[in-house]
């Protein structure tokens, strides 16, 4: 390990809480979102425990509503949305473009503080008993009928939204204006393209949910009728405004993960990315098309059938760029020299599970079918396949891949492979039965269910306990590795990319000398290499 690097360059709590170093900010985010991942996970555990029996014997229905709401809100806004961009993106984007820091380091720090303030409001809301409206805050239920701390939680989400906006702003300016000499757009790692596309969504979509929640809070606080039909308002308008952001938000959640997969698949196939240009532009296409499909969440809400037709068609179109990526990753692996290291296990799991999740999205996008499966466990299974089977898997893969770069130490490979396997099994056992349950008609967000659904629910809950183990293991061995892990060296994976050309961990200013880029990305197989298999 180098003598001086970004972790030991400066000591003391002030050097961390007032840092402008994007790498330290990434670590701050890592710690914070891990806390919220486990808070959200705790709610999930309680949900699955409750659903072991059909009669809802563990919690009252009112409490159950709070459990799934706080599970959703915490996981989406305080874990998934920041996860890859704020942790891995913050750490790597400046290094990958070859510069010393992001364009606006102080705004980056502000971003983290806004996240913390928003997260604090969420904790306060939980201490006040939690919100029970579902993470979607539908009006007028949330604005006029429930007694739970809706405004508190909405404020937290709004503030966390600004955190997201500032991260996106920083990435966009950095990628446009701070690339190293020779780093043209066509030489950028696909991870940067993915985070750039994500940032476009962040800045264009997040302000809309901010204003929507502000209007919701105004309606709730002042009893005015913007969404409440009793007062002349339109509840469908809330849904339009809410989903205008929240649909692109799911692409905020998945695109960075796709970027991670591009990096891992190329490295562990020892091959350049198949169809680099297509993968890069598909990220932009997903970002743009993702804004055109939001009303597919509202097919049964009362929107016009003509507009539903248009949104359904566009929803099919948005699947195409995602499919392009899946085909290209597979083609990258074909005739590559595939190494089954832990990051690659996660990447391969991603490709399979994301495909299932993505395809089932098409089921939901079909108007006729949606009438039957909307608001059932089919939807729940679909989005957990893309969010957990997709995004969380990619996040874990990325953490494993770049852990040596971030900490200078290798994680232990055997427990890591075990955890990946346990997670895969647990995940499928938890969520596959839910497709069947949804198809059979079990509604979501219900605290009770017909007894004939119990077997599948028990399977799902059993899977959840396995999944929990799979998620706990990395927490343990990552922590262990900080003290006892093997020293990694600059490039343990023999990967290409600017981040592997600097030390592990990198110095505070990333490079001792700003690099000049001459190689195409993913120049694998150009020289004689000995693949490193752990």
């Amino acid at each position: 390990m180098p003598a001086k690097h970004y972790l030991n360059d400066n000591y003391g709590i002030r050097s961390w809480l007032l840092t402008k170093d994007h790498k330290r900010i990434a670590i701050l985010y890592l710690l914070s979102i891990t806390v919220f991942f486990f808070i959200g996970g705790l709610f999930a555990a309680l949900i699955r425990l409750h659903l072991l029996t059909p009669n809802g014997e563990l919690f009252q229905a009112d409490t159950y509503n709070r459990l799934f709401t706080m599970h959703g809100v915490n996981m989406i806004f305080f874990f998934l949305i920041p996860s890859v961009p704020a942790v891995i993106g913050n750490f790597l984007v400046p290094i990958m473009v070859g510069t010393k820091d992001l364009a606006f380091p102080k705004i980056n720090l502000l971003s983290w503080y806004l996240y913390i303030i928003g997260a604090t409001f969420s904790i306060i809301a939980m201490l006040k008993g939690g919100v029970d409206t579902g993470w979607t805050f539908y009006a007028p239920l949330s604005s006029g009928y429930v007694k739970s701390p809706v405004i508190t939680l909405a404020v937290g989400v709004i503030i966390a939204g600004f955190s997201s906006i500032f991260t996106g702003l920083n990435f966009i300016v950095t990628v446009h204006r701070m690339r190293a000499p020779g780093m043209s757009w066509g030489r950028l790692p696909l991870f940067v393209w993915a985070n750039y596309a994500t940032s476009l969504i962040m800045i264009l979509g997040t302000p809309v949910i901010a204003i929507t929640l502000i209007l919701l809070a105004l309606e709730r606080g002042f009893h005015i009728g913007i969404f409440d039909p009793k007062l002349g308002g339109d509840p469908v308008l809330f849904q339009h405004m809410f989903w205008f952001y929240s649909h692109p938000a799911v692409y905020i959640m998945i695109l960075p993960g796709m970027g991670v997969i591009s990096e891992i698949v190329t490295c562990f196939s020892r091959k350049r990315a198949f169809g680099y240009t297509f993968i890069a532009f598909s990220s932009i296409a997903i970002a743009v098309f993702g804004f055109l499909v939001w009303a597919h969440h509202m097919f049964v809400a009362g929107i016009s059938v003509y507009s539903a037709l248009v949104f359904s068609l566009l929803s099919y179109a948005v699947a195409i760029p995602s499919a392009v990526k899946v085909f290209n990753w597979t083609a990258t692996m074909y005739k590559g020299s595939v190494q089954m290291s832990t990051p690659m296990l996660y990447a391969m799991a991603f490709i399979g599970l994301f495909t299932i999740g993505g395809l089932t999205g098409l089921f939901l996008a079909a108007l006729g079918l949606d009438i039957h499966i909307h608001d059932t466990y089919f939807v729940v299974a679909h989005f957990h396949y893309v969010m957990v089977g997709g995004m969380v898997t990619a996040y874990l893969g990325g953490l494993h891949f770049w852990w040596p770069k971030m900490t200078g130490r290798m994680y232990p490979e055997a427990p890591a492979k075990l955890a990946a396997l346990v997670t895969f099994i647990g995940f499928n056992l938890t969520f596959f039965p839910q497709f069947i349950l949804g198809y059979m008609g079990m509604p979501r967000r219900y605290a009770v269910y017909p007894p004939e659904f119990q077997v599948l629910n028990v399977l799902s809950s059993a899977g959840a306990s396995v999944l929990a183990v799979g998620f706990l293991l990395p927490l343990l061995y990552f922590l262990w590795s900080l003290k006892y892990g093997e020293i990694a060296g600059d490039n343990p994976w023999k990967a290409t990319g600017l981040e592997w050309e600097t030390t592990s961990p990198p110095p505070t200013h990333n490079f001792h000398e700003i690099p000049v880029v001459t190689k195409e990305p993913y120049a694998y197989g150009e020289e004689e290499e000995v693949p490193v298999v752990h």
Binding site: H176, F244, L292, S304, S307
Partner: protein, 102 residues
């Protein structure tokens, strides 16, 4: 100013700013006056057209976009384009609903 050689660092003169100010004032007065004339369906059209013109003048000259990089121009266009996506696709729902006959 001598060290900046790129086109994007040229800026308007106070004279040009005064001309733009005059145009904006005239536009505002016109908007106000025309509002009292019955043009039927065209009242909001005219008012918004003048508003768009005024906004364009502010953007191009007060905000220096006329002299700015292509990236800046694309960024602003993208912003308004996204706004139009939100407005038109939301309206497309409301305007195509069929109402039950009374």
């Amino acid at each position: 100013m001598a060290q900046h050689s790129e086109q994007e660092h040229k800026h308007p003169t106070p004279g040009l700013y005064l001309i733009i100010l005059t145009a904006l004032v005239i536009g505002t007065c016109a908007t106000w006056a025309i509002a009292f004339v019955d043009l039927g369906i065209f009242n909001p059209v005219v008012a918004l057209t003048i508003a768009v013109t005024k906004a364009t003048l502010v953007i191009l000259f007060f905000m220096h976009v006329f002299y700015s990089s292509k990236l800046t121009k694309i960024t602003i266009t993208a912003g308004f384009f996204w706004l139009m996506i939100m407005i038109t696709m939301s309206l497309s729902d409301y305007l195509t609903r069929t109402f039950l006959p009374q």
